[in-house]
Assembly symmetry: C2
Amino acid sequence: MKGFVHGGHSGNEGLALKNLMTEHDPSSGEVKIKLKAAGLNHRDLFIPDRHDSSDPDVILGSDGSGVVIEVGPGVKTIKEGDEVVINPGLGWERNASIPPEGFQIVGFPGHGTFAETIVVPEENAILKPASLSFEEAAVVGLAGLTAYRALFTRGQLESGQTVFIPGIGGGVATFLLKFAKAAGARVIVSSRSEAKRNSALELGADMALSDEEEWGEVVANEEVDLVIESVGAATFNRSLSLLKRGGTLVTFGSSTGDSIEFDLRSFFYGQYNLLGSTMGSGEEFRAMIQFVEDHSIKPVIDKSYPLDEIKKAFDYLGKANQFGKLVVSM
Amino acid sequence: MKGFVHGGHSGNEGLALKNLMTEHDPSSGEVKIKLKAAGLNHRDLFIPDRHDSSDPDVILGSDGSGVVIEVGPGVKTIKEGDEVVINPGLGWERNASIPPEGFQIVGFPGHGTFAETIVVPEENAILKPASLSFEEAAVVGLAGLTAYRALFTRGQLESGQTVFIPGIGGGVATFLLKFAKAAGARVIVSSRSEAKRNSALELGADMALSDEEEWGEVVANEEVDLVIESVGAATFNRSLSLLKRGGTLVTFGSSTGDSIEFDLRSFFYGQYNLLGSTMGSGEEFRAMIQFVEDHSIKPVIDKSYPLDEIKKAFDYLGKANQFGKLVVSM
């Protein structure tokens, strides 16, 4: 079968679409899925630097959807022919403050979704909502799960609250926007790009801030209950300054830098909450899929590529100009 | 009556024990208390720099205990002769993430407890537990309330958990130690002073770390669920490094500096919680007093002074060598 792998050479030189000789059969408790589509994530861009190219080739890709074509012994909840979406978190089924020992993400170190088939544990194959096409379902996984945990489990967003999402445009941020609007919140976003600000407003954002302006002056009349931060060093303190006293800032990324300097005294006098978040459990994944179905949420897809052109998708993702998700179809 | 006031001169020069001509009578909903004892807090040391000396004299002091000698119209829950302890938080009765508008602390800008009498709202006079002397009750207020909110409301400490309290010795820290032990937690403390480490071990601390050692190595086998931080810049990152993934750090002070630099990426991958805390509500104050009574907790009192020698108490507190609280008796 075809698969987009890393191996043989270090860095991006080791990326190649190959014809792989071996296909895996499902072991006990596993299912084999014929993939229809797979979603790209920034994580995929980092694997070439993390995977030792002298190790065996690894198929990249964390997100995907498809049809079950074989079930291993003991599989109870899934049958051949089921249309499924893959939960990319391996070994973190129950809700918990952190994942258990041994937690991994599909697509490194184990094989991923940029291939014609994949074998995953039964509990990682979740029935695809009828409201989503295979392409739409394929891009929900990692980003939707990250957004859901950050917004609801960690941020405890409630209807009527105001949430601020700096750096709108990426996959998680567009899910945050759609989820927050579906939950009845008022949503403020920011971006350096006027095009992205306009796209966010079209998707329902109530206010879109330029990264050039002093946010505090612009939103002086807003009561921001929750900030979901993934920009990091470039925006952290400005984001914190928007938050109402007693409010919560959830951080799950730091694309502009990890090192933060901030004032502890204003933080504790303001009785703020700063909460770290990453990924989510299987239970949260199922709740997220249910939420997507209940609210007829359609993921924002920027571009779709055939698997044969996946390198073009990688290049495009690396430029960070997309609004929403990129997807490949098998 | 006698009262220890600030006024007339700026800074510490304006501090004086004076014979005050006027005493206040309780208005509607207020009670007048003949003070038996009053507790000192670091806050008292800062007022001379915050009080404009051209304004009228202000009686300092946030904490106190005494006997009700007069009740104003409409007072329902308190009667003459009641022995009471004062909740120093004015205008924050119900539990909430932040105090309401108009919240103040007894002892600036309004008159405080370093005097022979004080008038406070009825809801700020709480019946003194029989288990505490007037001196003991007088030192519980501000520090006990701050400790209680940080440890239980914010930190959600549970029996069997391990809590780390850097900088043991001050009033709040000794309450944190006693409250945490009473709640069934394992308690680790730290101090630069060997004498304070030994005192903490005598009070029940399970481990006392020197501030000169690398804490991470010492507590490699401990699973620290909660850190209660008031030291600030000098210890913040070391404190955070002790915390188990998914754990909580509550900050309510920064005695060594406000400006913190920390790594956002390790913070969100570790799914940590950083929570600011300050003071507490009237409901928390009552719960704290009940907790003190239920667990027969005795505050740690370092030294007691007669009101006439309160300046000596101020000087001693300024040196930060005390272990526990300082109290003056009327």
